[in-house]
Symmetry: C2
Subunit: 257 residues, 2 copies
């Protein structure tokens, strides 16, 4: 199993792939599709899930235009989704951490509208969509969780729209970092110190900023003592101030620029 020989440096969340664990034994149990299912239901769910061999950094999970046959759950590592513009360069639409579902935007047209590739060595569960639809009719908890996850995705994307439409560069980066910190935290790792698996280019593309701007912002935030960063390793010193920069108030409302 040569695939598992990835350096720890190459793992964003520290999650190491342990081969073919069933949903039942998966540590992402309480974040992913299985939330609220009993072990009988989990056994049914397992039947429509295929654990693929891990993807190496840069490998495609699927490409824009591929027919949609499954949705995917990240099990370890991280994945980005993106479109290519006519002149060839990418626009990143999302970064996906373990426990998160990819491909939910493809259900409507039965075709994947974006491409997905691994940001680092990553393993992924493939959930046959037909089976998922079928099972959701039988297992109330599964349907509920699927709808919940899709709803959250909508909410997250709306939040990004507000961010991109209403906040200046600094706020955008602060929001992304706060968001990643929170998600890393939910997965049981320190929200204060983590590894960014994506390049500055990807960050810029996601936030609608030039790479140079992203780089300058990191330098600025570091100078202001909010965080320290070297290369891809980030340490957050003042999470509250970072969140305030990101425009989130106590009540979750956003402040305009």
């Amino acid at each position: 199993m040569v695939y598992f020989m990835t350096s720890s440096k190459d793992e964003a969340c520290g999650t190491v792939c342990h081969g073919n664990v069933a949903c039942q034994d998966c540590s992402l149990h309480q974040l992913c599709l299985p939330v609220g299912l009993d072990s009988a239901d989990l056994a049914l769910l397992d039947r429509i899930i295929r654990r693929r061999r891990p993807l190496r950094r840069g490998e495609y999970l699927f490409r824009a235009g591929d027919p949609m046959r499954a949705v995917y759950a990240v099990r370890s590592g991280s994945v980005k989704t993106f479109t290519c513009s006519s002149d060839g360069d990418e626009h990143v639409t999302g970064f996906h951490l373990p426990g998160e579902l990819i491909g939910l935007d493809a259900i409507g047209a039965a075709v994947h509208p974006r491409s997905a590739r691994a940001l680092e060595t990553s393993s992924v569960c493939e959930v046959a969509y037909e089976g998922l639809e079928e099972l959701s009719m039988k297992i109330r908890g599964l349907q509920r969780q699927l709808l919940r996850l899709m709803s959250r995705e909508i909410h997250h994307d709306e939040t990004m729209m507000i961010l991109l439409g209403g906040m200046a560069a600094e706020g955008r980066l602060a929001a992304l970092l706060s968001n990643i910190a929170a998600r890393v935290g939910e997965r049981g790792f320190s929200p204060r110190a983590f590894h960014l698996s994506m390049s500055r280019n990807d960050i810029g593309s996601y936030l609608g900023l030039a790479v140079e701007t992203v780089s300058r912002l990191f330098t600025r935030l570091q100078a202001e003592g909010l965080l320290s960063v070297q290369r891809k390793q980030v340490m957050i010193h003042d999470p509250d101030r970072l969140r305030r920069l990101a425009g989130v108030c106590g009540d979750g409302a956003y402040q305009s620029r």
Copy 2:
């Protein structure tokens, strides 16, 4: 029934509210939740739907923070969804035409994350969420359509993210106008000439632009002969060129700025 005495000028899509039509007899049948249901199923669906009295322009359908008990389908008129920033001004997250569902972003947290208010006199169907979850377990076609609509919403929001993150002001407005034109067209009205029910302010907020910029863009697009606009009435003269400005190529890919 004083509510139905709205001037035709006040209706974005020309759809006039006809009172308590059942889903079966609704002209939005093939766009809304009922897609693919037979009349027995439609009768069941009708039982969880309440037709509310029409909203007048500016009336709230729900407010950010309200507990989520239902999702809503626009029946006539149009509705905007938005958040308020801490200093009180709005950020618009969506415009919703007849047949479109509102409140799908609230399922995850069981609380509405945004507010919704009518842009003009509008009628709306209230779909009790608990009933919808229940019924989707029984009616395969309903589940399928609900998932499809949510997936399309995700796809649409991603497209907006790409737009806001990657395109200049002109492209953003062109994209919005093309999009509205297409949706108006799907609803059986002319995609070449329509009424914008939202203010320049709303458009600016939605596109992440200042009102003044929106105004100047309209003037510029008109000067270039792409469209003519007076007040809220828009006539598109060159839909292809507009779509090209919006950055959409034949294959649906986007071009960067």
